[in-house]
Symmetry: C2
Subunit: 226 residues, 2 copies
């Protein structure tokens, strides 16, 4: 019995997790990352609270939540807007990725720590065969999330989660997802092999170049019509 019960404890976080404000935040978060709400757009308290059938107060709590995740921007007396990232923001996001992901790949790993990463990579490869580039993007994100989890730090995991959510704001305005996501599947494969064979310094160097390239592509595809 004890094992089964212990397993249940993992679900406890999901239990406490059900205030209306949080569920509203979940909905809005999804809508933002799927591009339904586009960066720069203003979110009206009145129309959204009415549409979702919650009070303005509750909606405002949800707005605060997403504001702290940097998905929304709160301008006093003017309302909340879907965050619009500048080129400087993109640069900063990649600065942070280099620090956090770099620390992850430099660690000594046990083989079983790599299974999660392998799984995400396999998903990406399967999605690529299906020409499902949105799916590739999602799986790639999982790949990097799993990479960070090698640090074994809940706080770094959380930071990475937020960072990737912000990055999705940029992906949302990109017009050619294939050109962006496709090449990285292969690179992820190579990175994983370096990790598996324990060549961490090589892996770190490879990751740095990898992130440089991604940042450059993103900035290029982003800035001209920013």
């Amino acid at each position: 019995m004890n094992d089964a019960v212990a397993d249940l404890e993992r679900d406890r976080t999901r239990l406490g997790r059900s205030s209306t404000a949080e569920r509203v935040a979940d909905i809005l978060r999804d809508r933002i990352s799927e591009g339904f709400f586009t960066p720069g757009q203003r979110l009206s308290e009145e129309s959204i609270s009415e549409a979702l059938g919650v009070s303005r107060n509750t909606l405002r709590e949800a707005f605060r939540l997403l504001g702290h995740e940097r998905l929304l921007e709160h301008r006093l007396n003017r309302g909340v807007f879907v965050r619009m990232l500048s080129a400087e923001d993109v640069a900063d996001l990649y600065r942070v990725r280099r620090v956090i992901e770099g620390a992850a790949v430099r660690r000594a790993l046990t083989p079983d720590q790599l299974t999660l990463i392998e799984a995400a990579l396999a998903d990406a490869e399967r999605a690529a065969e299906r020409d499902d580039w949105q799916g590739v993007g999602t799986a790639n994100i999982r790949f990097h999330q799993a990479l960070v989890s090698l640090n074994g730090s809940p706080r770094l995991d959380e930071a990475m989660r937020q960072l990737l959510a912000e990055l999705r704001l940029v992906f949302a305005v990109m017009r050619n997802p294939r050109a962006f996501h496709e090449p990285f599947v292969e690179r992820n494969r190579r990175l994983l092999e370096l990790l598996r064979s324990g060549r961490s310094e090589e892996a770190a160097a490879y990751l740095d170049g990898y992130l440089d390239e991604a940042e450059k592509q993103l900035t290029r595809a982003y800035e001209p019509n920013g």
Copy 2:
């Protein structure tokens, strides 16, 4: 005219920055880090909103803000509590510090980047001469904050700010601040000299040992009566 107006833009952030909820959050944050509210204590919506003269709704917005900073813990239908850190939390905080501060000291620096760090260190040394150990603690925090700023990343700065606020929750329950803070002034001095002479790998190694020691002391002073 254009130059003078351009200068003003820097003040724009200060303009939007004053909703009641945020000011309430500022007050509560101060109260928590000064130990007026102690970890584990429940913060009643009714009594606090009454005491501060704001409505429950506004206070709840402030609670949400501090919850996201991990200073408060929100339990559904039970209220908010001042966060109580476990030994595992302390370990995680130091895990993150190793990653973020480690990345900072490994960078190549220009001498003028060190002036902020030097200033914080000088403050700590002066406070130590005055036997002002609270002051030493504050200056030490500024030292590490300045260290992280070498990364040049606003997001990492912000993450470090939050992390140190969490750590203050632990400092607040410590009974002998001198024993904890005093030895680190000297270590900070040594670390700065290593940085100044450009020996970054040596500095990184020194920092690692430094953080190990701090974590150990903190865990020891903390766990027995946790």
